[in-house]
């Protein structure tokens, strides 16, 4: 004890009676430096905007979206336009005819990434390819979200026998090797779908999107919703035990309303993250299918089919593989990092 800074008789000369007057509430308040309180969304947004990698990924995604969905409308070439005499050009190379036009003082838009063996501009093909790949990713994920969250919340909310049966079905679909069934569906679905679309004018809209894309959407949403359903069910199971649900029920809210208004909004973080991470996986699978020749049908191209077409000529025209391969990698990378960032932002416990 003797080592302690003891002051049995404190130096009283620097103290005076005023010091021992009670302090006012205001004076006390000044000591309380409170950190700002924030809402769930603000907090998540703040954490997300601090995550540099995720912010960069977000900007990249926006840029890719603009490039894929807006720029092709103003691009001087079409994805299926075959320019005679401009076959097999290297990036920034002009054909003789084009060179002659330039010499004549005409403006000729350069083939930034060259052309393919049919004289199609690779630049626009990559842009529209990215559009197709993004469409596949976005639409497939949206369908998965829709089916998975409805199925999962119904199973989780009602529980008991309903849950048991519904989850058994999920278990079985889950243990089906999805990629094999997807291949099988892609092999078999196109012909009957085409027949169906051709049979009536009701399907004109769908026909314009293309049988290839539609059958990809169908296949993905048929198989990939199960993990989403499992996740949503798990969340709902925990949430429905909580007091605010009992309160809502006591106030006479219907089951549908409780699911829509009280349960789903509370697992929105998980839903957003899972959906975002579903996008790159769908793009990946589409690329794989395209490589097997089961993706979208020519002349339409996805990044995957562009890369797959280029593999045979890799020795002489490596850029034809390089450009779509880099594009696909950037898109998948950006969505993965963006999703990781969202997960960290919504669930700080996960971030270690």
């Amino acid at each position: 004890m003797e080592d302690m800074k003891l002051k049995k008789n404190p130096l009283s000369f620097h103290l005076d009676a005023d010091d021992f007057l009670p302090a006012s509430e205001d004076e006390k308040q000044q000591l309380d430096i409170m950190r700002e309180s924030t809402t769930f969304w603000k907090d998540a947004l703040k954490r997300f905007s601090k995550n540099k990698v995720a912010m960069v990924a977000f900007v990249v995604i926006i840029l890719v979206m603009i490039l894929a969905f807006i720029v092709p409308n103003f691009y001087p070439y079409d994805y299926d336009q075959m320019v005679r005499g401009s076959e097999n050009l290297w990036p920034m190379q002009y054909s003789q005819a084009e060179q002659a036009r330039i010499d004549a003082g005409e403006d000729v838009f350069p083939h930034i990434f060259g052309t393919d063996k049919l004289g199609r501009d690779l630049g626009i093909r990559v842009l529209t390819g990215a559009r197709v790949s993004l469409l596949v990713g976005l639409v497939a994920s949206a369908l998965v979200l829709l089916i998975g969250s409805i199925y999962g919340s119904v199973a989780g909310y009602f529980g008991g026998k309903v849950d048991l049966i519904m989850m058994r079905i999920v278990d079985i679909i889950y243990s089906v090797p999805d990629i094999l069934i997807i291949i099988l569906l892609q092999v078999t679905l196109k012909a009957p779908l085409q027949a169906l679309f051709d049979s009536s004018s009701i399907f004109d809209g769908l026909n314009r999107v293309g049988v290839g894309l539609i059958s990809i959407f169908i296949t993905f949403s048929l198989l990939y919703w199960v993990s989403m359903a499992r996740i949503v069910r798990g969340q709902i199971m925990t949430l429905k035990e909580q007091e605010f649900v009992t309160a809502a029920r006591a106030l006479g809210a219907s089951n549908g309303r409780i699911i829509r208004k009280h349960l789903l909004p509370n697992c929105i973080g998980t839903l957003i993250v899972t959906t975002t991470l579903q996008i790159p996986s769908a793009i990946f699978t589409e690329a794989f299918l395209s490589f097997l020749g089961l993706g979208v049908a020519a002349p339409m191209a996805s990044l995957g089919s562009l890369a797959a077409d280029a593999i045979n000529s890799i020795a002489s025209y490596p850029y034809r593989l390089f450009v779509p391969a880099v594009a696909i990698s950037i898109i998948i990378l950006a969505f993965n990092l963006f999703g990781d960032g969202l997960r960290d932002a919504f669930d700080p416990k996960m971030k270690k």
Partner: protein, 305 residues
């Protein structure tokens, strides 16, 4: 335990049955039947062909016939490779694929867990960052891009490695690496985060307070816990290896089941597509049962019911 195993196998059989039904139904959806591509077939030839392939009976009867064949281990006939049975084709090509896939899985697991643990150990340092950058790229680049890039660099430019077939051990390097790249990157990321998670747990603090060495803390106390999520990835890993082998075998021209399958798809050899799908699906489903039972060995908390 026995009860659990029986139950798991029961479910697996149900799944396989379901797959066979789906496969059969889908194959029959194709308009015009499997012979529509054959030109100028006389009605007589058509009938003869249908009889040969068992298509002259009703659909349910066809299914029953097909299934009873399956149960006796008969996967049917190939449409395009005249005179060869599906069994013949599958069992002559599968060993090659299995060997390639097995080596790749081994590489992915060993290298993935090692790199992931290393990254966790070096957390925040440049070694960790390098591993993370490479593994993040690894899950973003499709395997056919990896394959053709590797082929171009090591096969065409540097001429260090052979690129076609599997005749010598050297031939294995590029395909194995291509096939293992994605799962390796995935396992690395998984392992890193679960290792960091494990290292943050209270029992690690207990171990530290006991005076356990850094090495034993990492490899005895943390690793065994951290590896559990990696085992749950074994199912997807197997599935990935199967689908990845399609790409790799085609690009590196390896005479395995994967390449055969792709050829069947492009050649519209529907009976073969069906047989191969059922064979591979059965294989995957059964392997998953084995993996599920493996969990119990590693994690004593999982009670098998």
């Amino acid at each position: 335990m026995t009860k659990y195993v029986c139950k798991r196998i029961g479910y697996a059989l149900l799944t396989i049955f379901l797959i066979s039904v789906i496969t059969f139904t889908l194959m029959n959806l194709i308009p015009g039947g499997p012979f529509m591509s054959e030109k100028a077939v006389t009605p007589a030839t058509q009938a003869a062909l249908e009889a040969k392939y068992g298509l002259d009976v009703s659909k349910p009867q066809q299914y029953v016939n097909y299934m009873s064949g399956l149960l006796q281990g008969d996967l049917g006939l190939s449409l395009k490779q005249k005179g060869r049975t599906a069994n013949d084709i599958i069992f002559s090509t599968f060993p090659t694929s299995a060997k390639l896939g097995g080596i790749s899985i081994l590489l992915a697991i060993v290298a993935g867990t090692a790199l992931g643990s290393l990254a966790a150990r070096l957390r925040g340092k440049w070694g960790d960052q390098l591993i993370m950058v490479v593994s993040t790229l690894g899950i973003a680049v499709p395997s056919f891009v990896v394959a053709s890039t590797l082929m171009r660099i090591f096969g065409v430019e540097l001429k260090w490695l052979p690129t076609m077939g599997l005749s010598t051990p050297m031939h294995y390097i590029l395909p194995v690496f291509t096939l293992a790249f994605y799962p390796m990157a995935y396992i690395t990321r998984l392992m890193r985060s679960s290792m960091l998670d494990a290292l943050n747990q209270d029992y690690i603090r207990t171990a530290r307070a006991k005076g356990v060495s850094k090495f034993s803390m990492l490899f005895k106390h943390a690793l065994r816990n951290a590896i559990i999520p990696v085992i749950t990835y074994a199912g997807p890993l197997l599935a990935y290896t199967v689908s990845g082998s399609f790409v790799v075998e085609k690009i590196f021209n390896i005479p395995g089941l994967g390449r055969e399958f792709i050829n069947c798809i492009t050649g519209r050899d529907y009976p073969m597509v069906m047989s191969t799908t059922i064979f591979l699906a059965t294989l995957l489903v059964l392997m998953n049962v084995v993996v599920d039972i493996l969990y119990k060995v590693v994690d004593p908390r999982i009670k098998l019911k």
